[in-house]
């Protein structure tokens, strides 16, 4: 009973600080490309350059299949949610430490800080989507009605970034080791997500030491599998489409999010002392 009362209290407090969330997000977007020559062009260049590299090495040299579509647009369509996720995770994880001066000087629900971290890269993604539209025109690919589901997959990516970001930002506030581990985590995570290869390449099962492992099922525990495959399915009409893997992704994300919120709530009370 008490648990739920603090939850409703927290939510009410969050709601009353919604403008601060808006300003924290707006500040980061506003200064993101300050004093750069290319400005917001960077938001477009990063996934584009990655796409070129991936197309050359994974598409051409390694000959990885791309669900029967041209490799560039296929990989770009996966890179877009992936890069959004990676940037969000990065920003959310470092957000508390980056806003130390706020945390030690002013009271507000601390969860706003990692939350704004996952909202900021949405701006980059919006630019990236424009390029995606351009590429679809270029390759004459028309989306089907499934397109209306695309935002839901991005929402899932946002929730996942927030969930993991809550854990990592709170840990990072205490142990700066997290910051140094993050690049490896993100890199590893990319390779266990269907960014450069389709999920269908992962065998359904494999026998290891005489035990049959449901490999595809285990693979689906990574929520980014659901996000990327789902996004490609919605936009390009390829891949496995929403199935059991999607629901595993949603369930895993929710579990991580609830756990992350509880852990964050526990640490935020003395955050100003430990950070």
């Amino acid at each position: 009973m008490r648990r739920w009362s603090w939850l409703s209290l927290d939510l009410r407090e969050l709601w009353s600080h919604r403008e601060l969330l808006y300003f924290l997000t707006w500040r980061e977007i506003r200064i993101r490309y300050a004093q750069t020559i290319l400005g917001a062009m960077w938001a477009v260049l990063q996934p584009l350059l990655n796409t070129i590299v991936f197309t050359i090495f994974f598409g051409q040299l390694a000959g990885i299949p791309s669900d029967g579509l041209p490799y560039p647009i296929w990989s770009y369509c996966g890179l877009l949610p992936w890069m959004y996720f990676a940037q969000s995770l990065h920003m959310a994880t470092n957000s508390l430490v980056a806003n130390q001066n706020l945390i030690t000087k002013v009271y507000f629900p601390r969860i706003l800080v990692p939350m704004s971290g996952v909202f900021v890269p949405l701006a980059d993604m919006a630019f990236g989507l424009l390029v995606l539209i351009g590429m679809m025109v270029r390759y004459s690919i028309a989306p089907g009605t499934a397109l209306i589901y695309a935002p839901l997959f991005l929402l899932l990516a946002l929730s996942l970034a927030l969930a993991v970001g809550l854990w990592l930002s709170a840990l990072n506030a205490m142990y700066r080791d997290v910051r140094h581990t993050l690049p490896f985590l993100v890199q590893f995570w990319m390779f266990v997500s269907p960014v450069v290869y389709p999920a269908s390449q992962v065998p359904l099962s494999k026998i290891v030491w005489g035990v049959e492992l449901p490999l595809r099922g285990l693979y689906g525990l990574n929520p980014m599998v659901g996000v990327i495959e789902g996004f490609r399915w919605a936009v390009l009409g390829t891949g496995l489409g929403p199935g059991i893997a999607l629901w595993t992704s949603v369930a895993t994300t929710l579990l991580l999010l609830i756990g992350g919120s509880l852990y964050f709530h526990r640490t935020e009370r003395t955050l100003a002392d430990t950070i």
Binding site: R27, R30, Y107, M174, Y175, R176, R269, T270
Partner: protein, 420 residues
Amino acid sequence: MSESVIQVEGVSKIYHIGARLRRFPSLRDRIMEGLAAPLNHLRRFASGRDNREDDDTVLWALKDVSFEVRRGEVLGLIGMNGAGKSTLLKVLSKITEPTGGRVRVRGRLASLLEIGTGFHPELTGRENIYLNGAILGMKRAEVARKFDEIVAFAEIERFVDTPVKRYSSGMYMRLAFSVAAHLDPEILLVDEVLAVGDSRFQKKCLGKMGDVQKTGRTIVFVSHNMSAVQALCGRALLLRAGRIALSGPSDSVVTAYLAESAGRARFERTGPFPKRVAIVAARVTSTDGSDAVVFRVFLRSDARRHCSLDLRILDIRGTPVGFASLGTFEPDQMVHVMPGENEVQFSLVVERLGVGDYLVSLDVTHPGVEYFDRVENCLSFSVARPPRDGAIRVLEQAWGYGAVQLSLRGAQVRRCQNEK
């Protein structure tokens, strides 16, 4: 009797200074600590004492603090550095949670532990006003309504759309204070933010605080500026080592604090000491009226020596104020020490120093030949003085004119005969 809007009951706050010294404990450290913890518990249990208070890695920043603040009251918090004033404000403003006890606050509370929190140099004045307003808890509509007033108060009209990184530090401070000054909370917690800007602007700020007070807001005010505390606060709390040492009308608490901080300022050193002449202890025994501060310094020497004893005096912000010496300027004032411990007593004339706190560093030298010993910022004294009869005000360090009151002499006024 108005209702109480802040209730503090038995609040304690513990810091584990062992962990605080290493500001960034790595995961490995924590794991090692975790592994060592059961062993330490066992050892403590075996030795028959399980008292966390005795643990020397634990610092009680606040210990069993209880008080109430009533609606419309202006409460001053005073005490030496490290007495727990800032920790108390942080606990009141929910920035950190107390280790024990309860805090109840009724009403919209805003805290100003520093000004300009969250200002970003790349953003313009206008953008920072909105951002800072949101951080301090103002609604966007509220900021919009007060926007012109904020800009006018800060006197930055022409630079509203300039990034604040191009501002002078004075403009930056004025803007930061101006946003804070237009906060409209029911309860305001303020920490030392008045010590900004030039003196004209400071006067404006004090005026603004007075206005806020007149509208019946509740204010809790931490300051080293005793005159401001006396002028603004009806009641004051004196904190000492995390406890409330005294509570009452601000005049009497301030007087007690100044007497105490002057009388108690003492310093004792634990070895190892330099071999030849060492400063082993020192104290400021009293503020001798308002004109002199009496020092007693204990020197340990290995032989009969002549040395000079120097005082370097800083104001409370660390700005050098002056240098005084027994021996450096007047060789016949040199201190003659005998083998063993020697007590040197002398007075420092402070009649030209402005009201405020000062820090003293001690040096023992053979002038121009060798350095025996030095101790940095080991003592502090306060200069407090009521305005003399008929005088309008006394010089205060915190006003930013400097700490020394200079004299003017030989003023003549003549009537001019039309020609200039």
